[in-house]
Each structure stands twice: as structure tokens, then as C-alpha cells.
């Protein structure tokens, strides 16, 4: 009897352990995450189309591109200003390989082919940039990637055979999948939310995987890691490749959102905006870029109105963004996240009995 009994029992047992494991996994995630997740999922109930499409959609996209910079800078110690160019290359590839207004150039491949190929091309491009950029360190990396970003901008502006020069590509729309128009506000919101969540989780996963840990080790002490037998250069270049995949996804979504791409998409102001977003949000943790992107999009969208209400010229929003960036890097180099951490640390140091700061 025992022989026929045991499979059933073990099956029940696995089911029970699976349930407890799932339960434990659910409980291991802080309640704040569930709240934020629920709010994000239910956002279409409270926000109007403009907010869903222009504010949240754009913030998620910029957040993804800045996330790729955060991955390189925060975990790899390499500040790359070429991430916007990589994202734009992804977007360009979708326009060139898929359908666009420039019918003489676009190849009209189906979406399931052109999207992966676009990401692949962006990843290869980033790997090449990375292979050159990792020969340098610190500020040199910033300068060299900035130079590459500028080269990309000027090249796309001058090249008419592939990149269609100054005018770029119009009418680049997402495919009609499952009969849904993905450029409608609510589907686009869920599309960007989904992609952003996947990228965010991927970055967290990689940062805890052996590769990410080794990368952080290399950031802290490359010589020691090399002595331990890790291939420092290969890890760094791979980090560029991984970051490029995230940036390319963001770039493709950006093209779909605007329905067009032109050299200005990866112009120097845009390149620097990505750096501003990542730094203002904080490059210590993957959530930082999204916070930074949200602040940036809000400022960018509403500061003209606010400035006009204060009877100033509405186009001075750049000054506002620049000053805000200056204030953040001058007084809080680790961004808004750093401010939050310090505020919490100060809260925690209060004596719980008398509610006064501890004398330490």
C-alpha cells in the first residue's frame, strides 16, 4: 500500500511547499511595492488620456533609457553618455527595417522580425562603443562616449541613404496586435509599464546574479578582481551590451510614441537630458532613473505654464531644469534617492521613547 500511497503524498507535499514558498516570496516583498504596483495598474481609472500617454508613457520610456545608464554607472562605475544614441539607433532600426513614411528606405519587415533585429543591432553597436570606451576610465569615459554620441547625431543628420538625413522617419507605428491600437492611451500605458517593469526586474536580477556581483566588484576594485581571475574588460563590455538591450527597448517605444524619429531625437540636449534624469533620480538604485524621469517629464510639461503664471517667458524651462540639476549635484550628489535615504536615516536616529534626536 505504501508504494501506491507515496506519490500522492509527495505531490501534496510539493504543492504545500510550493504554496508556502509562494507565500514566503509574497511576504518577502515590502508592502510599499504592492501598493505602488496596484496604483500603477489601476492608474487608468483615475488619470486621463493625456496623463497616461504623455506623462506616464514618456516617463517610463525615458526612465528605461536612463535605467541603462544607471546600470552602467551605478553597478559598473562607467558613466556612458552614448545610451541615448543607442536607444535612438534601436528606434531608427525599427523605422528602417519595418514600415515608415519613407517608403523608399524602409524594408517593411514584420514586427516579430524587425524588433529583435533592431535590439540586436543596437546591442552590437553598443558593444563596439563599449570595447573602445572601456580602454579609458572615469571622466575619460564620459568624454569619449559624449564624442560618440555627437558622431552619431551628425552622422544621422548627414546620411540620407540609410538614416534619411535631416527629416528622419515619420509614420512609424506599433503593430496592430490582438486587434488593439497600441498607440491609444490605455494600451500604450500598459505597454510602457510592462516594458519598464520587465527592464527594472531584469536589472535587479542581474545585479544579484554572479555577473552583476562581479561587475560591482570590478567597479570597486578592478585590480583585485583581475587578480581573482575575473576578466575585467569582458565584464565591462558585457555590461554595455546588456544596458544596450534596455536602452534599445526604450528607444523603440519612444519612436512608437512620437510616431517619428529624426536626428534631434539623439541630439546633444537629449543625450544630456538622460544624464540629468539618471543623476537627479539617483544612480544608486534602479528605481532612481524612473523617479528622475517622472520629475523631468513633469517639469518639462508644466514649467512653461508655471513660468507664464509667474509672468516670465515660458520657454525658460531649460534654465529651470539646469538650475535644478545644478542644485541636486551640488548639494546631493546621489540625487533625490540620496535625499530620501538621509531623511530616513535621520528619522531612524530619533529616540522612539521621547521622540527627540538621539545624542550621538
Amino acid at each position: 500500500m505504501a508504494v501506491s500511497d507515496s506519490p500522492l503524498q509527495s505531490e501534496a507535499e510539493t504543492r504545500r511547499t510550493l504554496a508556502t514558498r509562494l507565500n514566503g516570496w509574497v511576504q518577502s516583498i515590502p508592502i510599499a511595492y504592492w501598493v505602488v504596483g496596484a496604483i500603477m495598474l489601476l492608474m487608468p481609472l483615475i488619470a486621463n488620456d493625456f496623463f497616461l500617454y504623455q506623462i506616464f508613457g514618456w516617463a517610463f520610456i525615458l526612465g528605461m533609457i536612463a535605467l541603462s545608464l544607471m546600470f552602467l554607472a551605478g553597478y559598473g562605475g562607467m558613466v556612458s553618455l552614448a545610451q541615448m544614441s543607442i536607444a535612438a539607433l534601436g528606434g531608427y532600426m525599427v523605422a528602417i527595417l519595418g514600415d515608415s513614411g519613407a517608403t523608399s528606405i524602409s524594408l517593411g519587415w514584420p514586427w516579430w522580425l524587425n524588433v529583435p533585429v533592431a535590439i540586436l543591432v543596437a546591442a552590437i553597436f553598443a558593444t563596439l562603443i563599449g570595447a573602445l570606451a572601456v580602454r579609458t576610465e572615469g571622466i575619460y569615459t564620459i568624454m569619449i562616449t559624449l564624442a560618440f554620441a555627437a558622431a552619431f547625431f551628425y552622422f544621422t543628420r548627414q546620411n540620407y541613404t540609410i538614416f534619411n538625413g535631416y527629416s528622419g522617419f515619420g509614420d512609424v507605428v506599433p503593430p496592430r496586435l490582438f486587434g488593439v491600437n497600441w498607440r491609444d492611451a490605455i494600451p500604450f500605458y500598459y505597454l510602457t509599464l510592462g516594458c519598464a517593469t520587465i527592464c527594472y526586474l531584469a536589472v535587479i536580477y542581474v545585479s544579484r546574479a554572479p555577473f552583476g556581483l562581479a561587475l560591482q566588484g570590478i567597479r570597486d576594485n578592478p585590480r583585485r578582481m583581475a587578480a581573482l581571475g575575473f576578466n575585467v574588460v569582458a565584464h565591462r563590455i558585457t555590461a554595455y551590451t546588456f544596458a544596450a538591450v534596455i536602452a534599445a527597448i526604450g528607444g523603440i517605444l519612444l519612436v512608437w510614441q512620437n510616431a517619428q524619429i529624426a536626428p534631434g531625437t539623439a541630439g546633444l540636449p537629449a543625450v544630456i537630458d538622460i544624464l540629468v534624469i539618471a543623476i537627479v533620480g539617483g544612480i544608486a538604485r534602479p528605481i532612481g532613473p524612473f523617479i528622475g524621469a517622472f520629475i523631468y517629464v513633469l517639469l518639462r510639461t508644466f514649467s512653461p505654464d508655471v513660468l507664464q503664471a509667474l509672468s516670465m517667458a515660458g520657454d525658460r524651462y531649460k534654465l529651470l531644469i539646469g538650475l535644478g540639476f545644478l542644485v541636486v549635484v551640488y548639494w546631493s550628489p546621489d540625487g533625490v534617492l540620496g535625499l530620501w535615504d538621509r531623511w530616513r536615516a535621520r528619522r531612524r536616529r530619533r529616540d522612539p521613547l521621547v521622540d527627540k534626536p538621539e545624542a550621538s
Partner: protein
């Protein structure tokens, strides 16, 4: 130099040959067969001279950048903004006083003072924090660019050169042979004057660095800042002087650029990039490297825009990528 030749005999020969061929193309009158293959000599000569004079302008901007970087190890990404500010101020001063040369003095002092303020308020407070300095200077350049756009708008300004520099000069170089007539190259005299001025300035800078006491202190600071400070030299004052000089040079370059091109919003980024590429190619902290890099990049840009207009920018960055791949410290870097 001799040491360099002894170590790389093959490369020396290759470079000497290339220079000789270039010189031959410039000096010798072209036969009709050559003109059929390469286009008219006039165009080639103009491209070469435009390239060299553009290189002179790049040198003016980049030498301050490379000096500041070499000494203080800080990357001033607001350097392009100083250039643009110099251009606008130069336009205002030369319009108000009618004197082109006087505007150089005013702009040099004004932009140098701004440099001192930057050094005192920003760089001195974050010494050794590369990334933060870089980010702060990016912030400053965003703010300055927008303030300048506010004050001067988006239209372009042309700084007029004085009468005695207007019009072309005839250079003793054969531009074309048509039958029995020999045409010599006619080239804008203001560009020639600027080229000569930058060469003189470059030589003066080299002399100042290598033959004077302050130059000795600066070179010592480049090599070992802490040891220099420990031996009783007031390093902060040297930093201030060098920063002021580099900033003033960028401002003066703004006038030069405004005279033979124009002053317009967006030039700040263009010249920041140009100086970045020049110092990456030439090697950080080396005046000679800045000169070499500037001429190379200027020539590549102008020759490229004449013979391969679509890819002229790519040449510049190909040079940079090649230098990075084979000699990451730059051509003259150590």
C-alpha cells in the same frame, strides 16, 4: 623627439612620406592629368587652408582646455560656454567701441574673471571628485546656454574684422595654370592673420611653460600636485592663474570664431566637442598634442567636407577611434 624617432623608425618614415606628399601637392602646380583625377587645385588648396585655419581656432579653444585638465585633472565641460560667451561679448564690445583689437582685451579679462569665479566656487570645493565636477560643469553649461539664448536670442552675429584685415592676400602658391597664365592663391587675410597669431601664441605658451619659473611650477603641478604643495608653493594661486588663462583663451577664441564664422546659439556644444576630440587625439595636458590634434581634426573636417560631404564628420571620429584603439593616451600623451 629623437627618442621617438629611434623607437618607431617605420612610423616615422610613413609620417615623413605622407607629409612630403602633402607638401608636394600644396606647392607644385598640378598638371591637367592630376586635375582630372583629383579635381581643381584651387579647391584642394582652399580646403587645406580652411582646415589649417580651423585647426588654429580649435587650438585656441583646446589649449586652454588641455592645460586646465593637465594641471588640475578637472574636466571643464562648460568650456564651450566660455567660448560662446566670449563671442557674444566680443560682438557687443566691438560694436560699441568699433575696435576689433580692443574687444580681445575686454573679453579676455571678462571671461578670465568668470573662470576665476568658477574655479573658486566650484572646482576648489570638489577637488578630486571627478564625476561631481563634470556633472556640475554640465549643469553650468546648460544654465549658461539658456541665459545666453535669453539675452542674445537665436539669431547669428557676425563680428566685423577691421579694415586692414579685410579682403584677400595673394600667397606665393600656384593655384592654377591656364595656358601661359599662372594664378596664385588668394586667401582672406584675416584667416592668415589668425593662423599666424595662433602659431605665435602656441610658441609663446611653449616657451612660458618650458623656460619660465611659473611654467616650471605648472609642469611640476601636472606631474605631482601634492608634492608641489608640500614644498611650499601656493598651488591654489597657480590653479587660479591657469584657469583664468585657459578661460580667457576660450573667450578670445570666441571672437576669432565669430569673425571668420559666426556667433550663434549651439556653437558652445560644437566647440566643446571639438576640443574634446582634439585633446583625446592629441593627448591630455600636452600643448604640442593640442596643436597636432587641432590641425589633424581641422584638416579632416575641411578636406572631408570637400571630397566626401556625407561622411566628413565620420572622418573626425574615425581618427579619434583609431587613436583610442592604438594609443589610448593620445598621440603626445604620456
Amino acid at each position: 623627439m629623437n627618442d621617438l624617432i629611434r623607437r618607431n623608425p617605420v612610423w616615422t618614415v610613413v609620417i615623413a612620406l605622407a607629409a612630403a606628399v602633402l607638401l608636394y601637392f600644396i606647392v607644385a602646380p598640378w598638371s591637367s592629368g592630376m586635375e582630372e583625377v583629383l579635381g581643381r587645385k584651387q579647391i584642394f588648396l582652399n580646403a587645406v587652408f580652411n582646415g589649417v585655419t580651423l585647426g588654429a581656432l580649435y587650438f585656441l579653444v583646446a589649449s586652454g582646455f588641455t592645460l586646465i585638465f593637465g594641471l588640475m585633472k578637472n574636466v571643464n565641460l562648460a568650456h564651450g560656454s566660455l567660448y560662446l560667451l566670449g563671442g557674444y561679448l566680443g560682438y557687443e564690445v566691438s560694436e560699441a567701441t568699433g575696435s576689433w583689437l580692443f574687444s580681445f582685451v575686454v573679453v579676455f579679462i571678462a571671461v578670465a574673471l568668470l573662470g576665476v569665479v568658477l574655479q573658486y566656487t566650484v572646482f576648489r570645493r570638489m577637488e578630486g571628485e571627478d564625476l561631481r565636477q563634470t556633472l556640475v560643469t554640465i549643469g553650468i553649461s546648460i544654465v549658461l546656454a539658456d541665459i545666453m539664448l535669453w539675452l542674445w536670442g537665436g539669431s547669428s552675429y557676425q563680428i566685423l574684422s577691421p579694415d586692414w584685415l579685410r579682403g584677400p592676400v595673394e600667397l606665393p602658391l600656384v593655384a592654377a595654370v591656364r595656358g601661359d597664365d599662372i594664378y596664385f592663391l588668394r586667401y582672406p587675410s584675416v584667416r592668415i592673420a589668425i593662423l599666424v597669431a595662433s602659431i605665435v601664441l602656441g610658441i609663446l605658451m611653449w616657451l612660458a611653460l618650458n623656460r619660465t619659473r611659473i611654467g616650471m611650477l605648472i609642469r611640476a603641478g601636472v606631474d605631482d600636485r601634492d608634492m608641489l604643495a608640500a614644498s611650499g608653493v601656493r598651488v591654489q594661486i597657480i590653479f587660479m592663474v591657469v584657469f583664468a588663462f585657459g578661460a580667457g583663451l576660450a573667450g578670445v577664441a570666441g571672437i576669432v570664431g565669430g569673425t571668420f564664422q559666426s556667433v550663434v546659439a549651439g556653437e558652445d556644444m560644437r566647440f566643446l566637442l571639438a576640443s574634446l576630440v582634439v585633446v583625446i587625439v592629441g593627448g591630455m595636458g600636452s600643448i604640442l598634442g593640442a596643436a597636432l590634434g587641432a590641425v589633424l581634426i581641422g584638416l579632416a573636417e575641411q578636406l572631408g567636407s570637400v571630397y566626401a560631404p556625407t561622411y566628413s564628420v565620420v572622418f573626425t571620429f574615425l581618427i579619434m577611434a583609431a587613436v583610442l584603439a592604438f594609443r589610448p593616451q593620445g598621440l603626445m600623451g604620456r
